[in-house]
């Protein structure tokens, strides 16, 4: 087995264990109300950290382009909802902005 294969298998193990462990630990235990709250808030806090600050450098050569695209997405999602159209729309808006510059 060469070095790259050892690396891949090592990475697989350290990637899979953090994903799997909570399912094993938590499946049989009763969850206390405060812990349950904490876990319920994770989707919101995870999204916040996934979006900010990364979104400001999504198109590094012209940061405004991605911000215009995301701006479209936010406004569309706010009034009309959905995910597919905001996503495709933001790509198109970003593309046009990049094209014009």
């Amino acid at each position: 087995m060469n070095n790259i294969m050892i690396l891949i298998i090592g990475m697989m193990i350290v990637t899979y264990i953090p994903r799997l462990l909570p399912f094993i630990i938590m499946s049989d235990n009763e969850i206390k109300p405060n812990l349950k709250k904490f876990l319920e808030y994770i989707p919101y806090t995870a999204l916040g950290a996934l979006i900010i600050p990364g979104v400001f450098s999504a198109t590094p050569e012209l940061p405004q382009a991605s911000l215009v695209g995301i701006g479209f997405c936010v406004i569309y999602a706010w009034y009309k909802g959905g995910i597919i159209i905001p996503v495709i729309g933001s790509i198109i808006v970003t593309f046009i902005t990049l094209l014009l510059n």
Binding site: N3, I4, M5, I6, L7, I8, G10, M11, V14, T15, Y16, P18, R19, L20, L21, P22, F23, S27, I31, N34, K37, F38, E40, Y41, I42, P43, Y44, T45, A46, L47, G48, A49, L50, I51, I52, P53, G54, V55, A58, T59, S66, G69, I70, C73, V74, A77, W78, G82, I83, I84, P86, V87, G89, S90, I91, I92, T94, F95, L98, L99
Partner: protein
């Protein structure tokens, strides 16, 4: 939080996975192209995506390989970068229904920032059909994109690829917006977490992987403290 009794099927998972596919394909192709330039074989390049299935850490691994880092160093870095998935898995595991338990080793494998974000905001009962189909289509686009990138190279013009780079951010934003409309709580938690992440990353210069974990843990804890009275009122 009220959970309606909606049962999601395979097709719901596939449809909800489409924005992930749009976001994943160009990134996965970039990974395939980079893997080739790192003189990794086609099989190894594909196995990377098949076995590891973690975007950020795969790119970090290539970078570290290029600067001549050791295998141990790359593995430790990968572990740090993926610690956030432990929090996400814990959050999802708390919503696990009986019928999903048997499948949890497979469901756990498919947890990424994107599949987690899509599924955790799904109201109603999460089913194994939904989770597995959502994760499967994301996985397929990640592996397929990497293979395509390796074999055919840069068929997407740079400007198209750059535009598609906003797809995942747009998806995250589109998921968050309806929640923000429903309650201030979502907006406060997400903004605080984004600010904490920015401070950790750029001001405290905390290594990659930790800043997002710190943001999630700190702000979620803060949320438990901040919203404790509000919750009591909601039940009255």
């Amino acid at each position: 939080m009220k959970r309606e009794r909606i049962k999601y099927s395979y097709s719901n998972g596939f449809i909800d996975g489409l924005p992930i596919v749009i976001g994943f394909v160009p990134i996965a192709m970039t990974f395939g192209i980079l893997a080739k330039t790192c003189s990794i074989s086609l099989l190894e390049g594909i196995l990377f995506s098949v076995l590891v299935f973690a975007g950020a850490s795969q790119f970090i691994a290539l970078n570290l390989l290029m600067v001549g880092a050791g295998i141990g160093e790359i593995i430790v870095t990968t572990l740090l970068v993926n610690m956030r998935h432990m929090l996400m898995s814990a959050s999802l595991a708390s919503r696990l229904t009986k019928d999903m338990k048997k499948w949890s080793p497979l469901i756990a494998f498919g947890i990424t920032d994107e599949t987690f974000s899509v599924s955790s905001f799904k109201h109603g009962t999460l089913t194994k059909e939904y989770m597995l189909s959502l994760e499967f289509i994301a996985y397929l686009s990640w592996v397929g994109g990497a293979a395509l990138g390796y074999i055919v190279g840069g068929i997407l013009p740079d400007i198209v690829k750059a535009s598609m780079g906003v797809a995942l951010y747009a998806m995250f934003a589109a998921i968050l917006i309806p929640e923000v409309k429903k309650s201030n709580k979502a907006l406060i938690l997400a903004c605080l977490s984004g600010v904490t992440n920015t401070v950790c990353k750029y001001i405290l210069i905390i290594p990659q992987g930790w800043s997002i974990v710190i943001s999630i843990v700190l702000v979620s804890l803060l949320g438990v403290y901040l919203f404790r009275e509000q919750e009591v009122k909601e039940y009255e």
